[in-house]
Symmetry: C2
């Protein structure tokens, strides 16, 4: 099969995307580490729980919402449980399953941390975008996410991280 | 200071971005791990070296091009050197500096790996975008990267990863 190399326009877009996404993740992680001693992923876990009914989610649903593998989620949840930010409970309908519940302590950690985090997201990202670009970014990203989540027929069942146990060796 | 919370449009764009960027990185890393036994970062290091004059770059320049901290780069370069894909040389003009050089072995590893990687980038990202969206993505990301690279006056000197020694505890 002939390789479909990137066009110059695609190459420029790809490089700009790589640069922006690395810098954005670095900026957001650093602010959260400094202010709350946790990386962005941990914040996302707490934020997702805070919005769920009764502040509780099955681990599989939490992995799907945060777009990570179950092994990575288990590691993060164990750390957050040790810090008292959440607790785990058995799932009545599924013996294998487990439920993560945000504690009051976790909720107040999230409430203390949210303003600084949101300010960082705004300064790092949205302050650089017009209202039109906000819409464009959503449309682009939603299309890409839909494609990768395998809504397309014939997509591999392990194509998404939350259906896999681990993400392999990490860099 | 009153928190400038995200608007509903910004919140949708932010969540779509998080989902797309996690899924994209996961897909690209997984393909490279399976095909060449290396994560995306290692591929980027080899690709950047292959485009430099004489296939050599100072470590500081390589960190800036890949948008990572020097400690993370040092770790990756040590691994790649052990595999024979690159070698390190002293820098004549700067005793503290060090230069990374792509070996012939590294070049042929890159040439073998590029078609599969590019096909993945195309299938995962560009096949979902119109030509107009490719331009929008570049403009959005280039603006965000410029902002975070601290072209703005008064930005902190350690604001970018490649000017810091390490990125702190990792998740």
């Amino acid at each position: 099969m002939t390789t479909r190399w990137l066009t110059p326009e695609e190459q420029r877009a790809w490089r700009a995307y790589i640069a922006a996404s690395h810098l954005l993740e670095d900026t957001i992680d650093r602010q959260l580490q400094q202010e709350a001693g946790m990386p962005h992923l941990y914040y996302s876990i707490l934020a997702n729980l805070s919005e769920a009914p009764d502040r509780r989610l099955r681990m599989t649903d939490l992995a799907e919402r945060t777009k990570i593998t179950r092994s990575r989620l288990t590691y993060a949840v164990t750390r957050l449980e040790k810090d008292g930010a959440l607790r785990r409970e058995g799932c009545p309908s599924d013996k294998r399953g487990s439920i993560a519940v945000l504690t009051d302590e976790g909720m107040s950690l999230l409430e203390r941390t949210a303003p600084g985090h949101v300010e960082t997201v705004r300064t790092a990202l949205f302050d650089h975008l017009t209202a039109e670009q906000v819409g464009q970014l959503e449309e682009i990203c939603a299309g890409v996410a839909r494609g990768l989540e395998g809504d397309a027929p014939g997509s591999a069942p392990d194509g998404v991280p939350w259906r896999r146990r681990s993400s392999g060796p990490c860099a």
